[in-house]
Symmetry: C2
Subunit: 154 residues, 2 copies
DNA sequence: TGATGATTGGCATATTATACCAGTTCGAGG
DNA sequence: CCTCGAACTGGTATAATATGCCAATCATCA
């Protein structure tokens, strides 16, 4: 991850559909070595994926909420069942295991409060071993960045 | 947003660099109308951007944390100064305004706990009108989806 | 049924990606 | 200081892809 790689990563985060030619020009390199660097970053797993960012409302999911879930039973079985449901539920976008306690924090999208209630009932309340479910609704977005900063190693 | 558009949006979330030909084949359409639909979705703002997803660790930011910040003073000036700093700080990736109280929730990346401490000191503790800063560290990621589900309208 | 507007598929051209080659730079070791 | 070797760079030819245009098809409504 030298200076040029950092520029490439930065540029592709800002626009993932940049043509190789435009990218090369932007970072000050000719197309050939530029493409090779991109492929290397992909192979190395530094560039993990490309994706389109979609308008949530247009997809029918105007509401974002954060859910903190605490497990009371911490057997392998309970954890696996929980994480399986997380994985299978498309409205659950992110799930982090939080330090200090056995808390999960989820980011969930939903079309309405009713739908959210349905979701919670159909997923978590069926599971054994959940001790609490706390939901915080977001009513505004101040920032939503797709661009991670990049540190230069070499 | 008919069935075909939904398929397009789905596919481009999963792979934002799909060629138009592959996309067309995947959704069962010929390239021409497929491209036109994609362009329309872009113009309509439904597809908002394309971007590469990057490995956090490789960029030097292995730690993710969530920060809840409460303002004690709610003047326009305080809010604007706060949101300006949020906007200008690249380590702050997301910032949501939360319902019930004047809380913000941030998603922040950092290279180490020391760096995090520096960040908090240099940004929030300088600002007037902040009544509390609560940080939760994530020590594991169960799920991180780039694919929002899509509802069909028409 | 007939007319109209939207959508589709195919084609020609312009743009882009990719593999391959030679020239260059940089660093290690003598 | 010189030589060697590896890695990187830039250019080029070819293959793949995007894009604009046209006629054909489909759905809708009178």
């Amino acid at each position: 991850m030298d200076k040029i790689d950092a520029k490439i990563v930065q540029a592709l985060q800002e626009d993932g559909r940049l043509t190789n030619q435009d990218l090369a020009e932007k970072i000050g390199l000719s197309p050939s070595p530029c493409l090779r660097r991109v492929r290397n970053l992909e192979k190395a797993g530094i560039i993990k994926a490309y994706s389109a960012t979609i308008d949530q409302k247009a997809c029918g999911y105007p509401i974002t909420c954060f859910v903190r879930i605490r497990l009371s039973i911490h057997t392998e079985d309970t954890i696996q069942k929980f994480e399986k449901i997380v994985e299978e539920t498309p409205e659950i976008l992110d799930c982090y295991l939080m330090a200090g306690g056995s808390d999960y924090q989820l980011r969930v999208v939903t079309g309405s409060l009713d739908e959210y209630e349905q979701l919670v009932r159909q997923t978590f309340q069926k599971l054994p071993g959940i001790s609490s479910v706390e939901t915080s609704f977001a009513y505004g977005v101040v920032k939503k960045s797709r661009v991670l900063p990049v540190k230069i190693n070499t």
